[in-house]
């Protein structure tokens, strides 16, 4: 921590000027808005299209499940239920966000991504099952194709995200090692006029 005599010109300049407490308070309140993001108009439009589609498909799946009778194997019943639940979750979540003005927290965003992937897989399974049950071969082939595309898309998205996170985490680990070495070198070298920038760990932010 820099003492008063060790402050750089930059650190002293920052301390010269008093700040308005009311403006600071309003600013701190405004920073809370960073905890959430707003959907772009294109995303909102896509949401208004996809939400009823998801809910409609969920109803279709439930209707087919209801019409299947007691002869449907249990595993297919489970697929239908999972598909309907996933579609309802995605459609319901999308509507919730849209009705809230298109605002969503970043943490909820991450949760939605997980739910989204699960829902896409469930939807693909539902589409596959629908395709299998169709008598029209052309329609059946199309529906199976939809299922394959969904699964491939979900898989590719997961792979890209996994690779991105792996690259970043590796880079962070390497930098943290480099940082430890740099700090160790500084300790070994002994105290010197190592001026830290204002607001850094070694220089307290002005109140």
């Amino acid at each position: 921590m820099n003492t008063g005599n060790d402050l750089t010109l930059g650190e002293r300049l920052i301390r010269v000027e008093p700040e308005d407490a009311e403006l600071r308070r309003r600013y701190e309140e405004g920073k809370l808005a960073l905890r959430e993001r707003r959907l772009t108009p294109a995303q909102k439009a896509a949401g208004w299209l996809s939400a009823p589609l998801n809910l409609g498909l969920a109803l279709l799946v439930v209707w087919r499940l209801g019409g299947a009778g007691p002869g449907m194997p249990p595993e297919w019943i489970a697929f239908h239920v999972a598909g309907a639940a996933g579609l309802l979750a995605v459609g319901g979540w999308t509507l919730h966000v849209l009705l809230g003005g298109g605002r969503v927290t970043w943490r909820a965003d991450r949760a939605f991504q997980v739910v989204g992937v699960v829902a896409v897989v469930a939807l693909a399974a539902a589409a596959f099952e629908v395709g299998r049950s169709l008598d029209d071969r052309r329609a059946a082939f199309g529906m199976l194709g939809v299922a394959v595309v969904m699964l491939a898309g979900a898989g590719a998205g997961l792979a890209v995200e996994w690779a991105r996170r792996l690259r970043l985490e590796s880079r962070v680990a390497a930098l943290e090692n480099e940082l430890r070495l740099a700090e160790l070198s500084r300790e070994v070298a002994g105290p010197r006029d190592g001026r830290a920038r204002p607001g850094s760990d070694e220089s307290p932010a002005p109140s």
């Binding site: 002293r12 300049l13 000027e17 920073k31 960073l34 943490r107 962070v172 740099a182 001026r195 850094s200």
Partner: protein, 184 residues
């Protein structure tokens, strides 16, 4: 030029952690940069309220666009550029943006030997207010961050020669303003 390697590494780590979805990383970046950016914005906007508004919009833009920063090591120039863009949007209709800049030979060398004494911070702060916006902006970046010419040019989106002449003029004015305070 700041050569604090551990600080640069910490910032690079924070930028990458933000990209990994670590909300506390961005909080830490805000804590580190808030005082300096606020000081810079108060030099480049007419009122303190404008500076606070610009700072808030700076963080919103930075939070949204930080993932697009190709080189995390260039964070300093990038965040100042984001802040400047917010200040410029405030000043779009201000007369100060059309203020006259004294013509100087851009090849004229800077007086590298002169640097204000940190003990003269209050006098430097007062003298900054007497400069035109364009000069005040580059002088603030130079004095606050010890920022090199190339980086200042990147922040203000101007040729290095223009930045050099502005900084030379600003330093000359500051030196003259500080001279009476040093008279015995």
């Amino acid at each position: 030029m700041t050569t604090d390697a551990p600080e640069n590494l910490r910032e690079e780590i924070l930028v990458l952690k933000h990209r990994l979805g670590d909300a506390s990383a961005f909080d830490e970046l805000m804590r580190r940069w808030e005082p300096r950016l606020l000081y810079y914005l108060r030099r480049t906007t007419p009122q303190e309220a404008d500076a606070w508004d610009a700072l808030q919009r700076t963080w919103m833009a930075a939070f949204r666009d930080l993932r697009d920063l190709k080189d995390p090591r260039a964070f300093r120039a990038w965040i100042y550029r984001v802040a400047r863009n917010q200040a410029v949007s405030h000043l779009r209709s201000e007369q100060a943006r059309r203020g006259r800049i004294e013509e100087l030979d851009p090849d004229e060398l800077l007086d590298d030997a002169w640097a204000p004494d940190p003990a003269d911070a209050e006098a430097v702060h007062a003298a900054l207010a007497t400069l035109s916006l364009a000069h005040r902006e580059v002088a603030t970046l130079h004095l606050l961050e010890d920022m090199p010419l190339a980086e200042i040019a990147e922040v203000v989106s101007a040729p290095i020669g223009t930045v050099k002449s502005r900084l030379h003029h600003a330093r000359r004015r500051l030196r003259a303003a500080l001279a009476p305070s040093r008279a015995p």
